[in-house]
Symmetry: C2
Subunit: 255 residues, 2 copies
């Protein structure tokens, strides 16, 4: 039985303000919830609508869940067509020490605003073996339902941390880390010595790029050359596309 108070609570998680207050978010759909369960280590409550009890994968079936009516599912779901599988998941808090990042490349996101872009970046990050993702306070909430959806489960397997980026980048460069940043007027990524050890890649916002204060700090601004024909051309790539093209290049051709 889901109480009225619980329904109200779960519904409130549609808003970032209440997600932060309660340190919880909602993950919906067979696939996403299965990924959460398979990854493990999460504190969650799982709700299954009556019509879906026969459609559950073995992973979901063996989890602990509560069966609820279609009506209640409709009330707590954030989707127009509820998939009938909904988990309320507690936030996981991560910390970092620069020393622990010395053998790898990490990602820094400065002001990404589009949930689809952030989700896609998290998905690509996992694909290219990134474990740690640092986000600025003005980046879209990574627990926004559209972000959760777009990560296709990767959200559960990367370490997301909000950070003061100026402090982080200053500390990193002082401690011998290479900080690369995707900018419009940087050195060609193909002419830059790339490294996937003790390094960071910074991706800026869709409309404004990287914050000016950060930009002046960063020692390795890089760009993806355009092969567009003619004098007219698009000014930039989509942020999530640029992130993936660069990560692929670091992974394959970096030392």
């Amino acid at each position: 039985m889901v109480s009225k108070a619980q329904i109200k609570h779960i519904r409130s998680l549609a808003l970032g303000k209440f997600r932060r207050q309660h340190q919880q978010f909602v993950a919906e759909g067979h696939k996403i919830v299965e990924e959460m369960l398979l990854t493990g280590g999460f504190k969650y409550q799982l709700y299954i609508s009556e019509s879906q009890t026969e459609n559950l994968s073995s992973v979901i079936k063996s989890a602990s869940y509560e069966v609820i009516s279609e009506k209640v599912m409709k009330q707590i779901s954030q989707l127009t067509t509820p998939p009938g599988v909904l988990a309320v998941v507690d936030f996981t808090t991560h910390n970092y020490e620069l020393d622990d990042l010395k053998s790898e490349i990490s990602l820094i996101l400065d002001g990404i605003r589009d949930p689809g872009n952030l989700g896609s970046i998290i998905r690509s990050a996992e694909w290219f073996g990134i474990q740690n993702i640092f986000i600025s306070a003005d980046t879209v909430d990574p627990y926004h339902p559209k972000v959760v959806q777009a990560t296709m489960g990767s959200l559960f397997r990367v370490r997301l941390m909000e950070a003061d980026l100026i402090t982080l980048i200053n500390d990193a460069q002082t401690n011998g880390f290479q900080v690369f940043a995707a900018v419009m007027d940087g050195k060609s990524v193909y002419k830059t010595k790339l490294t996937t050890k003790a390094s960071f890649l910074v991706i800026g916002s869709e409309s404004h790029g990287i914050n000016k204060k950060l930009r002046t700090l960063i020692k390795n601004p890089i760009s993806i050359p355009s092969y567009a024909r003619g004098s007219l051309k698009t000014e930039s790539l989509n942020a999530s596309v640029a992130a993936a093209v660069l990560l692929a290049e670091f992974r394959k051709y970096g030392d």
Copy 2:
């Protein structure tokens, strides 16, 4: 003066059915309309709301346009917050001959459904010097407002053509073209001899990949290797991300 019939006509273009019937679409916003004008060669009617007449770039200012009230703009706009610059643009029809494609790499899109993905692919395609993009009949309408927006103007500078992909790919391979396709279980793109001459790259749908019939035809299935750690990982990259990572690789490392 915009007549009631014109308002009704422009509003109808929010739907694909009417876009196809009238062979017209709507492009909104200073940036997109400026790109359309700069590219040139389009037949269009341009509407500017009263409040925007002082904010026009020199390019838009020197075009022919009609000033309309905020009220009428709100009626014809497809956006919640109308930017006040709206163009009704006639479709441009392109044809192709395989022979004309021999010196380049072209893109084939099979069933891309998400407007944001299609827009991003068109934007990346221009960036990486692709001129010709072939789309299957079940690909999302490239004149869908969200696609137009996401292309950031690239839509006006690539040649989009709907095609029967089986015929196209058969013809291409018979005539010595190399057809590459992004699949989950292909040969690593890093171990494949890539060429940007007389070649095609096929990108499949977000959820189903490439249509089975096409898949069996295609002689060069390729994949982007994953560097994900651990046994659990995301199964694939976002379609627009995969397209861009592969195009970058073709452009830089192909012959």
